[in-house]
């Protein structure tokens, strides 16, 4: 690790990314020098100053596509990393759609998977044309031209990409450029420094919140106190009296306050008096919802998957156990709350946003403003986190922002900004879910049956993302279905509940709860049968890649034996085509909750493109998963009012609660899958399994800090 770090510093120094030099640029376009640009395809731009700009079709919110996609292009081009730049793609589906979605969008950990061949081809085509340009210029055979680290050469003749850009632009675009073989890769598979670390460490990276336009106003919104509420009447006198407030307007989503600066808008909002119509609102508390859910939880539901006869095998089992798991609503709470800037112009508008559905959001704004999509210009920005929140099937925030612009008259630029309170109380949560599990073992301790019933809300059914011909919503049960484990008798069923609280995918989607259910319940069955947690899992696994990561993590951690006062737990989960196994070591914290000391992880997500980014995503996935599993929940009180409003009541993981993380990456040759999400699912069950082995306590209701758990956990520490 030390050696690697040293090399990286030298690499940084050598590539000119040294602090103290000029402030980093805010966007490649602003710096683009005049002269011919070589643009062989939609993704590569070679500029006369010898920089190579890669057009990034995915939103960058920390998961690393700006670096990863650029790495693939740079490698196929044999470019020098120091000459690489990024720019974000415009809203254009024909050129920039996610090949897995059919429209521009980022999610399901697909950024690398869908772009892999596209970016390789883009880079290879550019290289071939630069080589052809050199061959023509020097009158030598193309087969004798070499490219290395951004230098094109033939014997003593040398040229940069920039030197050749004008000629390369006249060369024919190859249909099927020759791609490198894995042995020829020089950047793919290495810890290429992230392309945005410098601007994000110096305050220079620009986010939507940082945009300022001439004559722009800032708007904030007051939403109804319960989901589905509507504005009945507004008393805006006091709000309008706040210096700087320029207008107050009701829109379908709530009441908008516009001001010359952000603080005045917030102060104006505090002064609003709104009478709400809550006749159509969801007014149940979460406890009331849970009673409804629990009443359905043993209903076998729609069958999603079945092997053998689970009911019969359970009836004949030597020993059985059952469990009822409860998972709370969770807010995503990205660090940058939802925001956008819209500036109307003749026949369209400029739209600044860290959009996760670039075309969908842009089209939604056009629709509300009544302008053609072709009149819109999206200026995609770095986004301050998302975890799924910025991708909503109804393009909700884009619509609300455009409504705010329209209500003000549709001529003035508006920055529409949610406050943290809007974010925490604003819905689109990971849904409240209940799981009923039953399992049995035979006299020898082998698992003979597992029956899993999931009860909760679907955020897919009724949206364009759900095919009405499907018998059930896979996002509710994924991870229980298509498990890497095989059980002799197995059944997965699902009950869909109606609920007025808007919900959404949340980092790793259904796997946020199914992995916890599967891995903690399986661990209990294994313990009941007096089996070894790792060997028993290996015996159940159907896929070799699953076994490989489990064996690797056991080797990395040195097994499951912990020193005195601590215990270890293991969990495995496959999601988004990637395989992840983790071992957690915990002790009892003074607060009655687990103190998580370390998590070891082994991952296989196909060809490792940038191991450094992959490790970072596993670290972050573990932290995000653990923080919520230990501390966080959104609850609704009487009248359906959300009881949390900011980080004082919606508790986030902090630095002292973050475990050490050590990651082993399997050197896979399979096509790359994702790593933005798959690191998350095994973390909480690994901790829960360690905790059960340490204390004997089973945690079936999340978060760990829920009062019902603390009542039993409290005396333990």
């Amino acid at each position: 690790m030390t050696a690697v770090a040293t090399d990286r510093r030298q690499f940084l120094a050598g590539s000119g990314l040294v602090l103290g030099l000029v402030l980093p640029m805010r966007g490649a376009k602003a710096m683009a020098p005049a002269g011919p640009t070589f643009a062989p395809n939609a993704f590569v731009r070679v500029l006369p100053d010898n920089t190579v700009s890669v057009v990034i079709k995915h939103v960058e919110f920390g998961q690393g596509p700006a670096t990863g996609l650029t790495t693939i292009v740079a490698d196929e081009m044999d470019a020098d990393w120091a000459q690489m730049r990024v720019e974000f793609a415009p809203a254009n589906d024909p050129l920039y759609k996610n090949l897995a979605f059919g429209t521009m969008g980022t999610g399901g950990s697909t950024a690398m998977a869908n772009s892999w061949m596209q970016m390789r081809n883009a880079g290879a085509a550019a290289r071939a044309m630069l080589v052809a340009a050199a061959a023509k210029t020097w009158n030598v055979p193309a087969s004798e031209v070499k490219v290395a680290r951004g230098v094109v050469s033939h014997g003593a003749k040398k040229a940069s990409f920039g030197d050749l850009a004008a000629t390369a632009a006249t060369m024919p675009v190859p249909d099927k450029p020759v791609l490198k073989t894995p042995e020829q890769w020089t950047l793919i598979g290495t810890d290429v420094p992230k392309i945005d670390s410098l601007i994000k460490s110096t305050g220079a990276a620009q986010f939507t919140m940082d945009i300022k336009r001439p004559n722009m106003v800032v708007s904030v919104i007051q939403h109804p106190p319960a989901f589905g509420g509507k504005v009945k009447a507004v008393d805006d006198k006091a709000a309008l009296a706040v210096p700087g407030v320029v207008a107050v307007k009701p829109i379908p989503q709530g009441v908008v306050v516009y001001a010359k600066d952000t603080y005045a808008a917030m102060k104006g909002r505090n002064a609003l008096k709104v009478d709400w119509d809550l006749s159509q609102a969801e007014t149940r508390s979460t406890e009331a919802m849970l009673r409804d859910y629990l009443a359905q939880a043993t209903n076998p539901g729609t069958q999603c998957e079945a092997d053998g006869d689970a009911a019969k095998a359970l009836a004949g089992a030597a020993k059985t156990i059952e469990a009822t798991y409860i998972f709370p609503f969770l807010a995503h709470a990205p660090m940058e709350p939802m925001d956008s800037v819209i500036e109307p112009k003749t026949g369209g508008a400029d739209f600044w946003c860290g959009s996760q559905f670039q075309v969908g959001d842009t089209r939604a704004v056009a629709g509300v403003l009544g302008v053609p999509f072709e009149g819109m210009t999206l200026h995609e920005q770095y986004a301050g986190g998302s975890f799924g929140r910025r991708a909503t099937p109804d393009m909700g925030h884009a619509v609300e922002s455009a409504q705010a612009v329209k209500a003000l008259g549709g001529t003035r630029a508006v920055k529409h900004m949610w406050t943290r309170e809007n974010d925490i109380t604003g819905g689109r949560y990971r849904p409240l879910m209940v799981h009923k599990l039953r399992g049995g073992i035979d006299a020898k301790g082998a698992i003979v049956a597992l029956d899993a019933i999931t009860t909760g809300q679907s955020f897919m059914i009724g949206t364009p993302f759900f095919d009405a011909k499907e018998p059930f919503d896979e996002a509710m049960v994924e991870g229980l279905t298509k498990s890497a484990y095989g059980f002799p008798n197995y059944r997965v069923g699902v009950n869909v509940m109606k609920n007025g609280v808007p919900t959404l995918w949340w980092r790793s989607v259904g796997n946020t709860h199914t992995a916890y259910v599967m891995e903690t319940f399986l661990d209990r069955l294994i313990e009941l049968g007096k089996q070894d947690p790792i060997r028993a899992r290996l015996a159940l696994m159907k896929e070799e890649r699953a076994k490989t990561v489990l064996r690797r993590v056991a080797e990395l951690a040195g097994g499951l034996t912990a020193k005195s006062g601590r215990a270890r737990g293991v969990a495995f989960h496959k999601s988004f085509g990637s395989y992840v196994a983790q071992i957690a070591e915990v002790s009892a914290g003074a607060d009655g909750l687990p103190k998580v000391h370390k998590i070891w992880a082994a991952i296989d997500c196909g060809v490792p493109i940038n191991p450094n980014v992959m490790r970072a995503q596993v670290e972050g996935g573990i932290g995000y998963g653990l923080g919520h599993a230990l501390y966080a929940e959104i609850t609704l009180g009487e009248g359906g009012v959300v009881q949390q409003s900011n980080f004082d009541t919606y508790r986030s993981l902090r630095i002292g609660e973050m475990p050490d993380v050590e990651v082993a990456i399997i050197k896979s040759t399979a096509d790359p899958t994702g790593i933005g999400e798959p690191g998350l699912p095994p973390a909480a069950p690994a901790v829960a399994n360690a905790w059960r082995r340490l204390t004997g306590k089973v945690v079936e209701r999340l978060p760990f800090a829920h009062p019902s758990n603390l009542a039993t956990l409290g005396g333990k520490a």
Binding site: G62, S197, T262, G623, I655
Partner: protein, 154 residues
Amino acid sequence: MAVEFLLNGKHMSFDGDPDTPLLWVIRDHAGLTGTKYGCGIAQCGACTVHLDGKNRRSCVTPIDTVAGKTVTTIEGVSGPVAEAVQKAWVAIDVPQCGFCQSGQVMSAIGLLKQKPKPTDADIDAGMAGNICRCATYVRIRQAIKDAANAKVSA
């Protein structure tokens, strides 16, 4: 009456609402956007600046309490500690989404100025007020240690 103070070494005058938190004067009026809004109630630390050299949550600092003082933001921070911290941040690629990182960097600089060789417990305490939703905490801790070591060896 206008509030006068030094912002990154330059004279700054603000004659708006005296309740306005320093954060919004920095962002909306001075046009320095490196300092971020994340919560507005001193829970997340994204708005951390240095007030007379010490870490301060600008989102809960009324502008009239800043009169006559020196404010440094991520855009203006300098010196060997700042340089060591930012170099360490880049060298191990701490940022993910990056939105909290101005605040993290400012807090780390403030911490190292108080405790040049911080222990793990010092880092936990000194950085407890800065939330990173991407959970880059493993690297934040490492970068602070690297910066402390770099300063010593330099």
